[in-house]
């Protein structure tokens, strides 16, 4: 009798535990499709209706025959729906049109610029998490200590200063006054296959320091404040009091019990902030003349290079969808309560 009850209980857990993960992820992917379609439509609409690509491509002197030929080459004489389907088809094959400004395929422009932005964003994200989480734990545990107060004041300044100003100040101090670090560019890069990396040379690594700190500072302070707030909340909880009453060591209590419970909200915000890092890499790349996608975008916007703009929009949308998916999967890994099919 008892055995049967237990077996059926076990069965339920197993079924839910195993089947819930794919179902959950599939539903997330399904939810992402309309987002991508909307963004894709906007990107296409920009492409098709904003400005006159033919004019821009031809420059100032052209004949009517040139014009007709160009219109036909770009496929702009076809019906709307055909253009849209062609657009989606091309996008799915990695073809994003030709840059008006540079007269080169956008896909190869992006491919050239992607490594710079990826390395910068990852370095900034790592900086934000590796400094932000321990600082948050520290200020949460020793909230009245002098160093905690210093951290908190600094973080308030960090949250309020605009990214470009932080970059300028860092350049002023570390490049202009002290002369320790370069103020622009990626330094010497090494090409590995199609990927150019600055991580393998000293000058490349030095060049990465200031931009990565500039870009990650805001996220760092945000993560620190969030972890601190969550730590304070969790340390007041009954299960932490009970863990103390069981005589567990401080180390086990803070890093085993408390930190893990702060992770769910931290993952959410960190995930969203990763998107923020990508957006603000535009600003950082401009300040430091970092040859990434952000700099490309700004230069394209200044001259109205629509294909590059719409491609950037699409890529960012895909990136955000992927980030959200990863965040959801991390929830799953951290919080067992989600695994028993109790959807949020």
């Amino acid at each position: 009798m008892l055995g049967a009850a237990t077996a059926s209980y076990r069965g339920r857990i197993c079924v839910r535990g195993i089947s819930a993960i794919p179902a959950f992820i599939i539903s997330r992917i399904l939810q992402a499709i309309p987002v991508l379609l909307i963004v894709g439509f906007i990107a296409f609409a920009l492409f098709a209706f904003v400005g006159d690509p033919v004019n821009i491509m031809l420059g100032t002197s052209y004949t009517e025959a040139d014009r007709v030929r160009m219109t036909h080459e770009l496929g702009l004489d076809q019906p709307f729906l055909v253009q849209y389907i062609k657009f989606i088809w091309a996008v799915l094959h990695g073809e994003f049109g030709v840059s008006y400004r540079l007269a080169r395929p956008v896909s190869s422009l992006i491919a050239e610029r992607l490594p710079a932005t990826a390395e910068l964003s990852l370095a900034a994200a790592l900086f934000a998490m590796l400094v932000g989480i321990p600082a948050g734990v520290y200020t949460g545990i020793y909230r009245n200590a002098f160093t905690s107060r210093v951290f908190m004041v600094l973080s308030l300044v960090g949250v309020s200063l605009p990214t470009f100003l932080i970059g300028i100040l860092l350049i002023l101090v570390f490049s202009v006054l002290l002369g320790w670090l370069p103020s622009y560019g990626r330094g010497t890069t090494v090409a590995i296959g199609g990927w150019t990396t600055g991580l393998l040379t000293v000058s490349g690594l030095k060049a990465l320091v200031l931009p990565a700190i500039t870009l990650g500072l805001f996220q760092m302070t945000l993560i620190m404040r969030l972890v601190r707030a969550e730590m304070l909340e969790v340390l007041r909880s009954d299960y932490i009091k009970f863990a103390r009453a069981r005589g567990l060591t401080n180390r086990a209590i803070y890093f085993g019990h408390a930190l893990k419970n702060t992770l769910v909200p931290v993952i959410t915000v960190a995930g969203l902030q990763l998107g923020g890092i990508v957006a603000f890499s535009i600003v950082t790349e401009t300040v430091f003349q970092w040859p990434g996608m952000g700099l490309l975008l700004v230069q394209s916007i200044q001259v109205g290079d629509i294909p590059v703009m719409s491609t950037y929009l699409l890529l960012v949308a895909v990136l955000f969808v992927i980030i959200n998916l990863i965040v959801d999967m991390l929830y799953f890994a951290v919080d067992p309560r989600l695994r028993v099919g109790r959807a949020r």
Binding site: P34, V35, I38, V39, L46, V50, G51, L156, V157, V159, S160, L161, P162, T163, F164, L165, I168, L169, I171, L172, S175, V176, S183, G275, G276, A279, F280, I282, V283, T286, V287, L297, V298, S300, I301, Q302, G304, I306, M309, Y312, L313, V316, A317, F320, N324
Partner: protein, 299 residues
């Protein structure tokens, strides 16, 4: 209502941060609003500019003069005056963008909340999609696209409105969500049913009965958004997609000065930068304080 006001006053007096922030905001807004009256020079008056006066360091440095307290920029503009006029433009754009976002957000939120059903689903789905992207990215792309769509001859004339539109459009979903949820709560209340029974029209019920109940959170969100909007404008201008050098905002001044950082003329970029940071920090602190004072639960 009166009890709330006196509570606010009491809280305010006990908060040094709120008092200092208010002081800074008042000084900044005052200097900006009165710029044409009190600024020592008119930075837009091209005739008065003299390249001989360019790059003069601040008065406290060896080569500085008392005529230009904070020095001059690359075109010989007095920095104090340029910052006052620039702050004026920054504030006008930031505030207008928030007003624009508030209006759009309220209209969408009321419509979605009152109509419900498919209208609600579509509008909120759009808001969700937009919220996925950082506001600055939306503002950047919108201003870029509008820039392409407009004929180049109008660019300079309309740039201020383009920025207001771009920044406003990047911030409406937050307002729409809040207003929508208040609307949905109020829609079910007895007095709204009663108003319907009397035969009042939908828009009238929404505007006279439902909207007043949504004001509180809207004001708080608007306050919190002002600092961000000013920063967005500065960022766009810094990136070179905002205001041109002929009508510089604080962000434009910082961008101009950035080119001279390496040659030692740090003041052109640092003074406007400090002013911008102080203004935004104060507005943010004041916004946080207001949020906590009005509704502790939003904390």
């Amino acid at each position: 209502m009166r009890a709330l006001d006196s509570d606010l006053v009491y809280n305010f007096r006990r908060s040094p941060i709120a008092i200092i922030s208010t002081l800074i905001v008042v000084i900044c807004v005052g200097a900006a609003a009165l710029a044409p009256l009190i600024a020592p020079y008119n930075p837009f008056d091209l005739a008065s500019l003299n390249l001989m006066d360019s790059m003069i360091p601040p008065a406290f440095l060896p080569d500085g003069t008392a005529a230009h307290l904070l020095g001059t920029d690359n075109q010989g503009r007095d920095l104090v005056s340029a910052m006052m006029y620039g702050g004026r433009i920054s504030l006008i754009i930031g505030l207008s963008a928030v007003v624009f976002a508030t209006i759009v957000g309220i209209l969408v939120g009321l419509t979605a909340g009152y109509a419900g059903g498919a209208v609600d689903a579509v509008l909120m789905r759009i808001a969700d999609v937009q919220l996925t992207f950082p506001a600055i990215l939306i503002a950047l792309l919108v201003s870029g696209v509008v820039g392409v769509a407009l004929p180049p001859s109008l660019h300079e004339k309309l740039e201020v409105y383009v920025l207001i539109f771009a920044i406003g459009i990047s911030r409406w979903p937050q307002f729409a969500r809040t207003v929508r949820s208040s609307t949905m709560v109020e829609r079910g209340r007895d007095y709204v049913l009663a108003a319907r029974v009397i035969g009042l029209s939908g828009p009238r019920i929404v505007l006279t009965h439902i909207l007043p109940n949504a004001w509180g959170p809207v004001v708080v969100i608007a306050t919190i958004n002002i600092g961000g909007s000013i920063l967005d404008e500065a960022t766009l201008s810094f990136l070179g997609v905002g205001l041109p050098a002929t009508q510089p905002s604080l962000g434009t001044l910082i961008r101009i000065g950035n080119d001279y950082l390496y040659s030692g003329e740090w003041w052109i970029t640092i003074f406007p930068g400090v002013a911008l940071a102080a203004l935004v920090l104060s507005i943010n602190l004041l916004g946080d304080w207001l949020r906590d004072a009005v509704n502790p639960r939003l904390r």
